[in-house]
């Protein structure tokens, strides 16, 4: 026997969503949020339908949700939308490059076949893209260090490092 508590529909619908403006992948977007502290990840995935950033832990531990905010790699799962400043530019994997106009890292990850399940790969590419902007010619140890807080469970580490090296030499 299922016990169910019901909220009157009117109350649920009556909640006032607050409008929030964001700059995502070069596009000005407006979303309505019940909670201004909603982590950016849920806005990107659920309101804007983006698939690049992924939910992995919600704790900032694994890196699957990484996006760029003004060029810096940021964990979107622990970034409340309320913490964003007006005009900050958010870029996701989809905005980094496309099949028609790929980022060199995307080309390199395909060339190295650097994915197994691929769930972490968004984070690997976004973290590396921000890193390569700062350190365009890193050695292998520096790449490993730059990705030290990005987790991969399938064990694709060697291919990922090779892909970042390949992209670095192409940049």
């Amino acid at each position: 026997m299922t016990e169910v508590s019901k909220v009157e529909a009117s109350k649920a619908e009556a909640s006032k969503a607050r409008p929030v403006s964001l700059d995502v992948n070069g596009r000005a977007v407006r979303v309505g949020l019940d909670d201004p502290d909603t982590p950016l990840l849920y806005v990107l995935r659920d309101d804007l339908g983006l698939h690049g950033p992924r939910f992995g832990c919600g704790l900032g531990q694994c890196g699957s949700c990484t996006v760029h905010i003004d060029g810096a790699a940021v964990r979107s799962c622990i970034t409340p939308v309320s913490s964003l400043k007006a005009g900050q530019k958010i870029v996701t994997l989809e905005g980094l490059g496309t099949e028609e106009a790929p980022h060199p890292l995307q080309t390199a990850f395909i060339a190295e076949q650097a994915a197994q399940c691929g769930y972490c790969i968004n984070g690997m590419i976004m973290q590396s893209a921000a890193f390569l902007t700062e350190s365009p010619k890193p050695d292998e140890a520096a790449i490993r260090q730059a990705l030290a807080n990005n987790l991969c469970r399938c064990g694709t580490h060697a291919r990922i490092v090779r892909a970042v090296q390949r992209a670095a030499s192409a940049l």
């Binding site: 995935r45 704790l59 995307q106 994915a115 490993r144 469970r153």
Partner: protein, 750 residues
């Protein structure tokens, strides 16, 4: 419940394409067209037209493949791609048999309405068994196509061949497209075991490192994972689990949760508690706001005394996995006896993306989108739980985050089902990280006692071992939701076929290996990549090294001396060459300084009948901190015929790295109530700076059967590392994980 699926659901193009309430927004049943830019974005070709029934019986050709009016071939696979690349490899196998380019074949995976029940995707069997079935169905189709064309042309089938979607005559004078012969019609044929598959010498796709079909979409953020699927009218659910195993739900104060915006319902069914909201974040907040009172749980053993607990657990039966000569009697009278106990910690699967599922119940039928590795079995479990007839339940596989065994996907599917039933709308359930780490079924603790009797020359005359492991095999793991809600579910344990590789691959005169099966284990068990084979091989191969050391023999030569298997000897010899193995006994005589280096070898024949793997670990041990670094791992694998060499390499690299992680770092922690390792800080895994270099050689045998490639190499990793640490330090590690504290304790005891 019947274990045989024999229904033939009516299949319509409309249903397949997303009408009829099947699938919509942001999701397509057309994996190749939707997700693989390499394939032409063609029509959903290959799918039979409206009104046709699609057989799914495992003995029918139409269960595995159909040819559309446009000539495109659709392959239906009950085995699914868990992030391993088998979608590409199975496509290669089917395309090869039909002499088609890869892009002409679309693969549909794990849809209980469309694909045959080829068993769960586990045990490194997707190519070996699943691929073999698809190959045989395609070979039968090939024979049928040649026969149909021969009849049209009035010639013998032997004079014809397949080329690029047509059957053509020897002089290319006669040509007829597959579509014209069979397009949009069923073959209506049993799979012919006598249909001869293509001669491997003629392969153009199999054996080549074809680029994986799924990778580009994963790199551009356009891939649709299970976590990305959205269904019209869908709402978001979240579950609230008990804070202690076995606790009962005494009361729930949901006033705070219900006051939050967008909360639709709180659902309670026995001890199953969940919340439904308009948005995903709203559901997370509501779950946090629920104030539930639970009873004390049934209790867990003290973790510090886990092995005493295991040893004290009732034994329900003994599986004697090998018995040669008179092992116990010989042991009593050998010149020298060695004995040791090995243990292997409880592990979690640790998928990077927590489990997720969507369920919808409409007009008495349940549809469930799931990343389950066993959609056909899940279908029967959900039917049993809900009392919805099995033929009214359809489970559709959508790839999730990497899946290395029976993790939480099936449980998330059951959660979504109960919530969808309560609210009457499609519900998506996304587990939290703590749900995943806390509530996925666990790789059970393993305790192994070994003894060996050596003669005066150090030859092993007798070998005995006992493995204290939970009873059960690879059935259905009970669904958490069904258990909590008091709904029908299995009551037996299913840890996987964990007795494999308890017997040893060496020819010794007296051997007795026994698995003593335990009535219980602290957590709901299931299989995690290489279940049993990993733990058992760890003990066997490390203890074998102990015997070699006791005899003062080189550990590689000691293995070769008793290995009566040329293919096994070949992988061992090749890995010795690859690693520039220096023949000498362990430990090394000249280890000096704070950081010492060593090498260890290990060997397995998977399940003693298939894939061969040999490996060498090179480690550095910091004597001060007790930290181990695996610098390099050399591996040679012979899995028979290789379908996609780069795919196998990718799997092998990943498997070894994952097992280095499990060996050095991983252990589920718990208090007397529940799991306490609920995130990546408390259950750390290997990171980039710690990742070893992996050097490998594959032995391809195109004329042989293809055997499993994804699991076997994990079996040798823990022992190779233990053997290498012994080589470097003289200290023997017998307890996984090899934490710095255990290494230090072992060093000071040496």
């Amino acid at each position: 419940m019947s274990s045989m699926i024999s229904d033939t659901p009516a299949l319509s193009r409309r249903a397949l394409l997303g009408g009829a309430g099947a699938l919509v927004v942001g999701f397509s049943l057309r994996p190749a067209a939707a997700q693989a830019p390499a394939a032409p974005a063609a029509t959903p070709a290959g799918l039979p037209t409206a009104g046709l029934t699609k057989p799914v019986n495992v003995d029918e050709v139409d269960a595995y493949l159909t040819i559309g009016a446009d000539g495109r071939v659709t392959v239906y696979s009950g085995k699914v791609d868990l992030g391993t690349g088998v979608r590409t490899a199975l496509t290669q196998m089917a395309a090869e048999e039909l002499d088609l380019p890869l892009a002409a074949v679309t693969l549909i995976q794990g849809d209980t309405g469309l694909t045959p029940d080829q068993g769960p995707t586990y045990g490194s069997l997707s190519i070996q068994n699943g691929g073999a079935q698809i190959r045989q169905a395609a070979a039968t189709a090939r024979k049928a196509l040649l026969g149909m064309a021969a009849e049209r042309f009035g010639v013998a089938p032997e004079t014809l061949r397949l080329a690029d979607g047509s059957v053509v005559g020897a002089d290319n004078d006669q040509k007829i497209a597959f579509a014209e012969l069979i397009g949009d019609r069923l073959f209506d044929l049993k799979v012919d075991k006598a249909a001869k598959p293509k001669d491997p010498a003629l392969y153009t796709l199999v054996g080549r490192s074809v680029a994986r079909l799924d990778i580009p979409a994963k790199i551009f953020g356009t891939f649709t994972y299970m976590q990305d699927v959205r269904v019209p009218g869908m709402v978001h659910g979240r579950v609230v689990r008990p804070p202690a195993l076995g606790a009962t739900l005494e009361s729930v104060d949901d006033s705070r949760a219900l006051a939050l915006p967008g909360v639709i319902r709180v659902v309670r069914e026995g001890n199953f508690l969940g919340v439904i909201a308009k948005t995903e974040w709203g559901a997370i907040r509501a779950a946090d706001a629920l104030e539930a009172r639970w009873s004390a749980g049934t209790g867990l053993p003290e973790q510090a005394k886990l092995w005493d607990h295991v040893r004290a657990t009732r034994v329900t039966k003994e599986d004697v996995t090998s018995n040669v000569g008179a092992a116990d009697a010989t042991l009593a009278k050998t010149a020298r006896t060695l004995s040791a106990t090995y243990d292997f910690a409880i592990h979690t699967h640790g998928s990077i993306g927590p489990s997720c599922a969507i369920a919808e119940i409409k007009d008495g039928a349940l549809t469930c989108w799931t990343a389950s590795q066993m959609t056909h079995a899940l279908r029967r479990q959900l039917a049993a739980m809900t009392a919805i007839p099995t033929d009214k339940v359809r489970c559709l596989y959508v790839e999730g985050s990497g899946c290395y065994g029976r993790n939480g996907h099936e449980d998330a599917a059951a959660d979504a089902t109960l919530l969808a039933r309560a609210v009457g709308r499609p519900v998506r359930v996304q587990w939290s990280r703590a749900d995943e780490h806390g509530w996925d079924p666990k790789g059970p603790p393993t305790l192994i006692d070994l003894k060996a009797g050596l003669d005066a020359d150090g030859k092993v005359l007798a070998w005995t071992s006992q493995f204290l492991i939970p009873e059960g095999s690879a059935g259905n793991v009970p669904l958490v939701a069904a258990d909590l809600a008091g709904l029908p579910h299995e009551t037996t344990m299913s840890p996987g076929n964990i007795i494999h590789n308890s017997a040893i691959p060496y020819t010794l005169p007296n051997v007795r290996t026994v698995c003593r099966r335990l009535a219980d284990t602290p957590f709901r068990p299931s299989w995690i990549r290489t279940p049993g084979r990993m733990q058992n091989t760890f003990a066997n191969e490390a203890f074998f090294d102990e015997c070699a050391a006791a005899a003062g023999r080189d550990p590689a030569e000691a293995r070769l001396a008793v290995l009566d298997d040329p293919r096994g000897a070949e992988v061992l010899r090749r890995v010795m060459t690859l690693a520039k193995w220096e023949a000498r006994p362990s430990p090394k005589a000249d280890s000096q300084g704070d950081v010492v280096r060593g090498r260890g070898i290990s060997y397995v024949r998977y399940e003693l009948y298939r894939t061969y793997v040999a490996g060498v670990a090179e480690v550095e041990v910091d004597r001060r901190s007790g930290a181990i670094r695996v610098a390099r791992f050399f591996v040679v694998q012979d899995c028979g015929q290789i379908i996609n060499p780069d795919g196998v390499r990718n799997q092998l690299e990943g498997n070894i790295l994952q097992t280095v992680s499990r060996t050095l770092k991983e252990e589920v922690t718990f208090d007397r109530a529940q799991v306490t390792s609920l995130d990546w800080a408390t259950y750390p895994i290997l990171t980039f700076p710690e990742a070893p270099e992996i050097v490998m050689e594959l032995i391809d045998r195109p004329g042989e059967k293809p055997w499993g490639a994804g699991e076997p190499s994990a079996a040798i990793v823990s022992s190779a590392i233990s053997n290498a640490v012994f080589d470097a330090t003289g200290a023997r590690l017998r307890s996984v994980p090899f934490t710095p504290a255990k290494v230090q304790a072992s060093l000071s005891a040496t």
